[in-house]
Symmetry: C2
Subunit: 332 residues, 2 copies
């Protein structure tokens, strides 16, 4: 799967900003790829990109329409189909992060075939992955792991990629979730892979590379999440990360979606991840803590970071407030 | 998925005994369900069951044809289709453990629809599972975990079920792999479930039950297997086992399929499983060690079991040589 850019960001009739969260993430991290937005009547989201018709987008050389909106039930709205067919007719591909598949809408499937275009349903991997070999691969790898889901793992690895590239390093973000896939142009929705191939799919998106190349692998879930830990463990084993970053959100009162489950301590979380990581890379180590302090007052955030750093002996930063430079400094 | 019994064991043109290994497992553990076998020209396997034609099987009230043979590539042989269609016409269902699907053979799919029969492709779960809730369920649960794949986890849990039932306990084997599913008549091929639903699928096959009921949950893989550990962890979390049994094969020189990976020590394997199990059941504990000593001389096996038992302070048995009574004695 290789999604061609530049992108036209399709916001459809998104009722609010939150419904266009995925599109916003892509526009934030790949502004050079996101050259226009398409909005329909009733759309209340705005990425501050030039509004374009499908004709204008095709004329401007845009290659792919990114359906980066959330919908009740994750379905493809009837109201969108006519313009999406038009996009295919004009020579653009379509990529969607919705649960329901573009390829299961007959009008879209037919138009794609007729015009030789591609439909990418990024939540539904269609590759046939191999079972993981566990063999060491050349190149270097960072993986973000978390105390919980949605604590900033994607943001952290993208910030690392940006910082490394700014320093002239050879670095690529490797996506394991839908927003990340739009940002990378490729990747795998690892939670949608068949269980036997979790680690194998990670080996495939982070293949052998130059000795000085860094893969920044997007983490998913948590070893301490009772619903999804299997995904996180398979990802950890497949990544064979040289460097781990622990991501955390200090104000969360329980594991996401599981009111009966407390978050682990940072120490327990690091110990469990390190023990498991050593199976496929005995040299794996933590190099920093990335804390999402969005819900904390500046003073409280600063104190929390300082206390964490002193206690764990590793740089503790909020990637948004402080950047990740001090974590990148740990690598070589 | 509920596969109706009694079964007609379909051996097709299996070239040797090994090709009918799945069928043999079902016949060993459910002799009361396996009332006949169907063999074609060239078949060199024999379950020592009455040979039946499809007509005889249907007349005898057999409900399901079990395709329990291995094949190069796991495909449905052209040579089988005519008789399998006949089975459907005669009112029997078909269940297969092959990789390729019965439901993708047009002649079988059409015949099944025409006659209102079911095709079960047990390697390909078709249920929509929920994400695991992590909520405590009533009833009691045993899970077999292993140092590696294929070290006797299914055998051990089936032997536990047999022993418990002989004692008049309320006990059910819960299948997580294809042979187990034929033996239980239901279950889920957990390695074929979409990654997000590993733990949820285990919650679904081992639901709430009477307080004195025991589920004997078939284990899969190993937390120390670099290809499949994610499956094992999701299974461990979903099972919420009260009692764990460690399964091991002492003569194995490396992890199955991974020549570069050594087996963990029993101590390390128990510690890792226990730590992970405690996330969803803080009272989980090991109650015994099941050792496959098939490749050891009787003296060596006996010494190994005694040494292991003394070292770990838990009953260590070979379920085949010694039975599992001493492990069941640990439960209440």
């Amino acid at each position: 799967m290789d999604i061609q850019h530049p992108y036209l960001m399709f916001l459809g009739d998104a009722p609010d900003r939150l419904a266009a969260k995925t599109a916003q993430g892509v526009a934030d991290w790949r502004p050079e790829w996101c050259l226009g937005q398409f909005r329909m009547a009733g759309c209340n989201a705005d990425l501050q990109l030039p509004d374009m018709t499908m004709e204008q987008a095709a004329e401007a050389g845009l290659k792919t329409v990114i359906v980066g909106v959330a919908n009740r039930g994750g379905v493809i709205s009837e109201a969108w189909i006519e313009v999406l067919v038009q996009a295919l007719e004009l020579g653009m591909d379509i990529a969607s992060g919705l649960h329901s598949r573009l390829s299961e809408v007959p009008a879209l499937q037919e138009a794609a075939e007729r015009h030789g275009r591609s439909l990418f349903d990024v939540r539904h991997p269609r590759e046939n992955f191999s079972v993981a070999s566990g063999k060491k691969r050349s190149g270097k790898r960072v993986l973000a792991v978390g105390t919980d889901c949605s604590v900033g793992k994607m943001y952290t690895t993208l910030a690392m990629e940006k910082e490394m590239r700014a320093r002239g390093w050879n670095a690529d973000f490797r996506a394991t979730g839908q927003t990340g896939i739009f940002i990378a142009g490729s990747g795998v929705s690892i939670d949608a892979v068949v269980a036997d191939f979790i680690s194998g799919s990670v080996e495939s998106i982070s293949p052998e590379n130059d000795p000085d190349h860094w893969d920044l692998i997007e983490g998913q879930g948590s070893l301490f999440h009772a619903s999804f830990a299997g995904v996180s463990l398979g990802l950890l084993h497949g990544a064979q990360a040289d460097a781990l970053i622990l991501c955390h959100e200090p104000t969360r009162t329980h594991m996401r979606g599981l009111p009966e489950y407390q978050l682990p301590s940072l120490e327990d979380c690091m110990a469990a991840n390190l023990a498991a990581a050593h199976l496929t890379n005995p040299d794996s180590k933590f190099v920093g803590i990335a804390v999402n302090t969005f819900h904390m007052a500046p003073d409280a955030a600063e104190n929390y970071l300082k206390e964490t750093e002193d206690r764990l002996g590793l740089p503790a930063v909020d990637p948004v407030r402080n950047g990740v430079g001090r974590i990148v400094d740990q690598l070589n």
